[in-house]
């Protein structure tokens, strides 16, 4: 099967490419990128006025299957990904049962293959049952297809277990992804500790809850020389530590989420304690947000990840303190980034694509993130300034928990190609 994507602005940070090119996709790989490509037997996709880039990769999503299919399934989650312009997602291990074994990994991959909307890269658990005590069978899971390990949803609290994970994961050259949170410091907290938690009388989660774990892990990383990735990094202090550690030569990467880049803890008050503003880590102070934006621009941040965390309406439509943490993000991330990061000039469009594609591929060591010839024909096409209004009710995801409902944005995904095949979600 051949597809010729013509007339689009092709932006590929992996090759420092930005110009008007034709793109030939053949047999699942990128066959040619050139100013003018002719392939008479190819199906033509006219991309005039559109941006064509390496397929977007979301390295932090929760697909909820197995176990909580009423919130999301692999099929609905990957369909949501495709609608949002993502060709691949990495899904966290906190399913029920936990993805700490070959059989769960294989089940997820089989469901993803059957759905056919986006590639799925499962992330295995660090510890058996996410209990934080014994290492899971990481080698077995790597053979089955996991690309990283993480107890996300929970931190690896035990320093000795973290040290061992950083050492052991090196056998497979995969990163250990940390949900950096000291649960003692979090306590009963439900939002960022600061002026707004004080005003609202809601228990706060201090920024130090994240920082002390990042600090500890970076010390362990120095000793182990492993690969370490901070999930949904949210504080200025954690980011500064990551920046310094990288300058010192440690193999540390980090991701941030659109909501931490665009909202602050004030949103909890502005939205009258709507549970759509309740997530972990919580929306932070404006100084944290500004630091994250700087980290985007200066290269410290490796990826933007939605932390797509679907929850059923019955669970979210309750008192703020009683609601689960998390929001959906697969269908809003690209438009939010285009409208609120690229349009105001916080980052260039090429840097955005790096953060949503090339960077995530590099973090996980997976083959996407590039339109170089011979690479997988995973392609995202988007309109850089088409107007859209976020409508939670019509999302492809089973869940609709988003604080961005009703936002008017410019820039929207148009379609994706996975292994050269146009996806119709």
């Amino acid at each position: 099967m051949k597809t010729l994507v013509t007339g689009g602005r092709v932006i590929d940070p992996s090759q420092d490419l930005d110009g008007f090119f034709d793109l030939l996709l053949e047999d699942g790989v990128v066959a040619r990128v050139d100013e003018s490509v002719s392939a008479s037997d190819a199906e033509v996709f006219d991309a005039e006025g559109l941006v064509v880039c390496p397929g977007l990769i979301d390295i932090h999503v929760h697909l909820r299957e197995p176990g909580e299919e009423y919130k999301e399934t692999v099929a609905t989650g990957t369909r949501s990904a495709a609608v949002g312009g993502f060709t691949a997602v990495a899904c966290m291990a906190n399913t029920k049962p936990v993805n700490d074994s070959r059989s769960v990994t294989e089940h997820i991959l089989e469901e993803a293959r059957r759905a056919g909307y986006a590639r799925v890269h499962p992330i295995g658990a660090v510890s058996k049952g996410l209990a934080g005590e014994e290492l899971a069978e990481i080698g077995e899971m790597v053979r089955a297809g996991v690309v990283a390990v993480s107890d996300d949803g929970l931190p690896v609290a035990n320093a000795e277990l973290m040290r061992r994970a950083l050492l052991y994961a090196q056998h497979f050259d995969i990163p250990v992804i940390q949900h950096a949170e000291d649960l003692d410091l979090t306590g009963s907290g439900v939002m960022h500790e600061g002026e707004w938690s004080t005003r609202l009388g809601l228990p706060g989660i201090p920024g130090s809850s994240e920082d002390v774990i990042v600090a500890r892990d970076l010390i362990l990383l120095e000793d182990t020389v492993g690969r370490y990735h901070v999930a949904h990094l949210s504080t200025g202090r954690s980011l500064a530590m990551v920046r310094r550690a990288r300058q010192a030569g440690l193999r540390v990467t980090c991701e941030v989420s659109p909501h931490h880049l665009l909202l602050t803890d004030q949103a909890v008050s502005d939205m009258e304690m709507s549970t759509a503003t309740k997530m972990k880590p919580p929306l932070r102070a404006s100084t944290d947000r500004e630091a994250l934006l700087e980290g985007l621009a200066d290269g410290t941040v490796d990826a933007i990840a939605s932390d797509h965390a679907p929850h059923h309406v019955d669970e979210k439509d309750v008192e703020f303190t009683a609601a689960p943490f998390g929001i959906v993000g697969l269908e809003t991330t690209l438009s939010l980034c285009l409208d609120r990061l690229v349009r105001p000039g916080v980052i260039s469009i090429s840097r955005m694509i790096e953060l949503l594609s090339t960077g995530p591929a590099r973090v996980l060591g997976i083959p996407g993130g590039s339109l170089a010839e011979g690479r997988p024909a995973d392609v995202t096409v988007f309109h850089p300034d088409r107007s859209v209004t976020v409508d939670a009710a019509t999302m492809a995801s089973t869940s609709h928990n988003t604080p961005f409902d009703g936002w008017k944005l410019k820039g929207a995904p148009v379609c994706t190609f996975v292994a050269g095949k146009k996806i119709n979600p």
Binding site: R199, L202, E272, D317, V318, E319
Partner: protein, 313 residues
């Protein structure tokens, strides 16, 4: 502002009220305060109106105060508590409220442990919602009755020095009071152990002290807050003994306040923990007046929210 100009369906907190709205409630309360002095303590104002008291947390004084206020206004009150109800069987707050709504109440008075619970109901229900305390967020009628009591004694709020001492972090009373008193022009100081002072509390427009003596120096009003004894097990303070040594209001310490200072406490008190008995029962104490004024203030709130104000007092 005349009674007929009251526009709100709900009373969820002091934060969203204007100074004029606060004054209107206090003035309306004044007109109701005489009802308690009559031989028959009842007026027909809310006859035919149904008020549901929805208490998800134990509360004797606030609940009794609302009940008496409702009875004095001739409203039909229905008491609903979480124990023994569908809530203890797992029904959600919203479902419970929708079931009550189906019975067409005019007003719902809610006390709930979760900040924002009254707001959640107010968005869904046609009935007016009165927040009778939501977690550590707001307790608007308490702040209103405090302000009423202060005005009774001082004739004004503006320019007064008011010290609030104790567990600031976990107190809904203090948040509502800070909003109310600063809106009416008082200078508010808060003090308490650093483990019980919430983050960035100074951003609420108050002075912050770490010593009781500094907080109450020259104060016209000293408001002591209840210490919940279970906080000790969470390492927020080492012992009640040490707490009293550092933050307990004694007669000796009270001398630092203004000569005609009044002492307040939202109750229930821990004598010998946050306040010495001779202060609690002393001439400066207006603690029982606060309780009495609570009924008049709640009558005013029920009256205004019921729409009765449209017809004039």
């Amino acid at each position: 502002m005349a009674a007929g100009t009251w526009q709100r369906k709900d009373l969820l907190g002091i934060a969203e009220l204007s100074a004029d709205e606060i004054r209107l409630i206090l003035e309306t309360a004044e007109s109701f305060s005489q009802v308690a002095e009559r031989p028959i303590k009842k007026v027909p104002t809310l006859r035919g109106k149904t008020v549901v008291n929805l208490f998800f947390e134990a509360s004797t004084r606030t609940r009794s105060s609302f009940e008496i206020a409702e009875k004095r206004l001739s409203a039909d009150g229905l008491n609903f508590s979480s124990s023994g109800s569908a809530l203890s069987k797992g029904e959600s707050l919203i479902d419970t409220a929708l079931n009550l709504q189906a019975m067409a109440p005019d007003l719902i008075v809610i006390r709930h442990g979760a900040p924002g619970a009254p707001h959640l109901l107010a968005r869904r229900l046609d009935a007016g919602v009165i927040n009778a305390g939501d977690g550590a967020h707001e307790h608007p009628t308490q702040a209103l009755l405090d302000a009423y009591t202060i005005r009774q004694h001082k004739g004004r709020i503006a320019g007064l020095k008011i010290a609030i001492v104790g567990d600031i972090e976990h107190s809904r009373v203090v948040r509502s009071n800070i909003h109310l008193l600063t809106k009416l022009g008082a200078e508010v100081t808060v003090a308490g152990p650093l483990t019980m002072l919430p983050a960035a509390v100074d951003r609420l427009g108050v002075r912050v002290c770490h010593r009781l003596e500094d907080a109450i120096a020259g104060a016209d009003v000293v408001m002591m807050l209840r210490i919940q004894l279970e906080r000790q097990s969470r390492a927020l303070f080492p012992s009640t003994r040490e707490y009293f040594q550092l933050f307990g209001l004694t007669r000796e310490r009270l001398k630092a306040a203004a000569e005609d200072a009044i002492v307040m406490h939202p109750g229930p008190m821990n004598r010998g923990v946050e306040i010495a008995s001779d202060v609690a029962d002393g001439p400066e104490s207006v603690i029982l007046e606060q309780v009495a004024n609570g009924v008049a203030v709640r009558m005013a709130v029920l009256y205004l929210l019921s729409g009765a104000g449209e017809e004039g007092v």
